[in-house]
């Protein structure tokens, strides 16, 4: 479904990704784990067209994404829950959700999806008229996730969705991810919390300073000593 080949990204003179390749197949949850600054967010942003690709290819359903504008990419069915939530602080919770459905034309279905999001996150329903900027960190994370769902993505990119969340919520988020996946959404999940990520994913890649150093099924990765030591705290 998504194929990344030899992807290189530069920030001014510094190269953040040194030619990484991986793929995500339809219906999978694929996780990308790695330490801080490894280039995980950069990878997601490159897929979404937010940072320019200096070399390499990204194809989605056989179509080349390199050079497309971010909104063009969203229209093709890719959506991202960005790192650090990035909710629209000056819009209400409800308007944030509506923004998620910006490219959609079917008002009724949008309404229905919104109800669904509220069911999933009753906290958001309680505060639907509050400005998103005054929500707490966790509430914002829920909103960011809900907002991404509103575009009914085929491929959902998630950048550290568990960051700064209460344990209860972390589990909640991961179970939502699994639900979504069962409903047919393909997911590329970036996580620090390798523990949880590897529990729900099918396959994973380990990124270290701009290179993919390991890949394989979850079972394989869980066996790997290096992964155990660095990412599972074992």
């Amino acid at each position: 479904m998504l194929k990344v080949e030899g992807l290189r990204v530069n920030y001014d003179a510094i190269e953040a990704l040194h030619g990484i390749s991986f793929e995500v197949r339809e219906g999978e949850i694929v996780t990308l784990i790695g330490a801080n600054g490894a280039g995980k967010s950069t990878t997601l942003n490159a897929i979404c067209g937010l940072v320019p690709v200096s070399r390499g290819g990204i194809t989605f359903m056989g179509e080349d994404l390199v050079g497309l504008s971010p909104h063009g990419i969203v229209q093709r069915g890719i959506s991202q829950v960005p790192e650090g939530r990035r909710v629209f602080a000056n819009l209400t919770v409800e308007d944030n959700l509506l923004m998620g459905a910006y490219t959609r034309k079917d008002a009724k279905a949008v309404r229905r999806d919104m109800e669904q999001v509220y069911e999933r996150f009753p906290r958001l329903k309680e505060r639907y008229r509050q400005l998103a900027g005054t929500l707490s960190g966790g509430e914002q994370q829920m909103l960011a996730l809900g907002r991404a769902l509103m575009s009914r993505p085929r491929l959902l990119l998630m950048d550290e969705p568990s960051m700064g969340l209460a344990p209860l919520l972390v589990r909640e988020i991961f179970s939502i991810i699994q639900d979504l996946n069962r409903e047919g959404v393909t997911i590329l999940l970036v996580e620090q919390n390798a523990h949880m990520a590897l529990k729900i994913a099918h396959r994973g890649y380990v990124l270290e300073t701009g290179n993919i150093i390991l890949s394989g099924t979850v079972a394989e990765l869980l066996e790997n000593e290096e992964v155990k030591r660095a990412y599972l705290g074992g």
């Binding site: 504008s69 971010p70 602080a89 910006y102």
Partner: protein, 299 residues
Amino acid sequence: MNLLGEVLQQTVNGIALGGIYALIAIGYTMIYGIIKLINFAHGDILMLGTFMAYFVLMATGPTPLGLVLAFLVAMPGSAILGMIIERFAYKPLRNAPRINALITAIGVSLFLENLARVLPFIGPNPRQFPTPPSVFLSYGGVGISNIQLLIIVVSVVLMLVLSYIVERTKVGKAMRAVSYDKPASALMGIDVNRVISFTFALGSALAAAAGILFASAYPLIEPYMGIMPGLKAFVAAVLGGIGSIPGAMVGGFIMGLAETYTKGFINSQLADAIAFGILILILLVKPSGLFGKETSEKV
């Protein structure tokens, strides 16, 4: 004329002036809202828009039809101009420190003014803006001129249209989303560049409309004509709460009335001082302006 009559008359004068300020202020506020830029060139877009209308009116004469035509030419014309300026002067600076964009805006402003001065078909000399002969409709000493009436009607209609666009439509909400976080908006599928262009187009079109009204009331137009109304409208925008459209409208009327009352009842030299005084007073009581949202930074 008795004092009450005089007060009423000054109120009419103030509202007409305020309507013009409000229209300009809306453009300032929208553009500030979306790219956090004080668009110093806004007053100069107003000037160029007014000249477009001038050439139309010179051809048609100051007839009602000609006036309608002038709006139809100048508003889209200025909208395109605003978009071009944004594309070439401001867009490349979107990620630069805000002060850089501000300097560029000042540069664009000076450039447009002085370019207009050397352009053979505009030139430095003031020109008489064609206006219909003035008619003074008077009721017991208090009255309103046909031009003041035109200003009030046109500005109110335009403001209603604009409020609808921004509050109710999807693109209006997209404008607010883009104003807060551009990359995140892009992730929503919003074409950020288009939305910003659209904002400039809308603001510039309103400036052109304000310019035509302004020139109809004060029918002498020249390349520097946009500076003062621009500055005062900017104060109006801040006073109302920069970024807030209802704020810009109310701010415009407050400025118009304050200026007129000060000139009429206190002392004309104090008009600017009092306008700025009101601004500072309002900011002290409500730092975000009358309609601005309190945005204490959450840490």
